[in-house]
Each structure stands twice: as structure tokens, then as C-alpha cells.
């Protein structure tokens, strides 16, 4: 798997729905178009949530994976 270089990391470990979504939304709006946010979460609802959030907002979910028992997402700001 290619290594994705993130511009910013947002750790939402231990936070429950909808806080990871809210924090991701805020973080991505503060970034430049084309930049990549790495978001880490432990909420088991996070993978379907981030897929839906990305599709709805038009930002690109580059990768959704599990690492060390956590969910890790790479999201590119598209607009």
C-alpha cells in the first residue's frame, strides 16, 4: 500500500458519534484544498460515518483502514 502523507492529524480516540464527524468537518474547513487530514477514531460507527460524510460533502476519503485496534482515515479536502 502506498504511503499517504498527511498534512494534519486529528485524534478522535474515545469520542463517540457525532463528535468525530463534527471535529473532522471543522478540521477540514480549516485546511487548504488538496491537503490531507489523517483522522483516528475508536467509535465502531466511524467507518460507515466517514464514508457517508465524504460522499455527502464531496471530500475524498483516500483510505479507511484499521491500525493498532483503531480506525484510521485519510481525507483529502476537495472543495
Amino acid at each position: 500500500m502506498d504511503v499517504i502523507k498527511e498534512d494534519q492529524v486529528l485524534d478522535c480516540s474515545g469520542m463517540l458519534c457525532p463528535i468525530p464527524v463534527v471535529k473532522t468537518s471543522k478540521a477540514i474547513k480549516a485546511m487548504e484544498i488538496g491537503q490531507v487530514l489523517k483522522m483516528i477514531a475508536t467509535d465502531p460507527g466511524a467507518p460507515p460515518d466517514m464514508e457517508a460524510w465524504s460522499r455527502q460533502t464531496g471530500n475524498e476519503l483516500l483510505r479507511s483502514m484499521q491500525e493498532d485496534g483503531k480506525f484510521v482515515f485519510y481525507i483529502k479536502r476537495m472543495k
Partner: protein, 133 residues
């Protein structure tokens, strides 16, 4: 003019309807946090409080209504209200359901807006989704 503010076709409009209040604390938080998630997805989101719903946005009830949690440690409703408000969810009420509880707009927390039945139906027809609780 519609109560909805957006004219952009790719911004979806979601209307939540909350009919429960202080006698059903376990039914009070969900509309706020689903609305919060909806707003975080760049949608325009309103919650319409009717029947017992206005109790959720009455002053001091945010602290008084505790969302129960098995084993203890329930959260105040205020937490969910503030989360929704901060991300731009709008709170709407109508006069008949204020009268039901003897409320006036002065009893509502800051930012609550008054609409009527016609405006509600107009919003519902224009919404991409209407979700009732």
C-alpha cells in the same frame, strides 16, 4: 420566503421534528445529535419542536433534563443542545405548543425561532428529508 436559507441545489435540507420533552428524557438527545451530524455534512438542518418538544429548548431545562445511562453517569441535555447550536442547527417552535406549556418566547433559550403551521408544511415540502421523533 422560505424559512430555509439555502438556494444551492447541492446543499440538502433536513428537517427534524421533536415531539418529546422532559417526561421522556431518553428521547430528547437523539434529534440534537443526529441534527449535529447532518450539519457537519454541510447540510442545512432545522429541528422543529412541537407538542412536548418545546420543553427541550426551554430555559434551564438543558441542565434539568438528564439523559439516562444504564449504570449511571448520564449527560445533561445542554451538552447536545450546545453541540447542535454551535454547528448551525436552527431551533424552531410554534405558538400552540408553547401555549400547551404556558411558555412565551421569553422562556425559550437564545436563538429559538417562531414559525407557524403553514411555514412548517412549506419547509417539509421543500426538505430533502423530514425525520420525526
Amino acid at each position: 420566503m422560505s424559512v430555509w436559507k439555502t438556494n444551492e441545489p447541492d446543499v440538502k435540507k433536513i428537517l427534524y421534528v421533536q415531539t418529546h420533552g422532559e417526561n421522556d428524557p431518553e428521547r430528547t438527545a437523539t434529534p440534537f445529535f443526529l441534527a449535529t451530524a447532518g450539519a457537519a455534512m454541510d447540510n442545512e438542518v432545522c429541528i422543529y419542536f412541537t407538542m412536548n418538544g418545546p420543553q427541550c429548548v426551554a430555559k434551564d431545562n438543558g441542565e434539568r433534563i438528564i439523559i439516562p445511562r444504564k449504570g449511571g453517569g448520564g449527560k445533561e441535555l445542554k451538552f447536545f443542545i450546545e453541540q447542535a447550536r454551535e454547528i448551525g442547527v436552527r431551533f424552531l417552535v410554534c405558538q400552540p405548543s408553547l401555549d400547551l406549556h404556558g411558555y412565551t418566547m421569553d422562556d425559550m433559550i437564545e436563538g429559538v425561532e417562531m414559525i407557524g403551521g403553514a411555514a412548517f408544511n412549506d419547509m417539509a415540502c421543500d426538505a430533502d428529508a423530514v425525520i420525526g421523533f
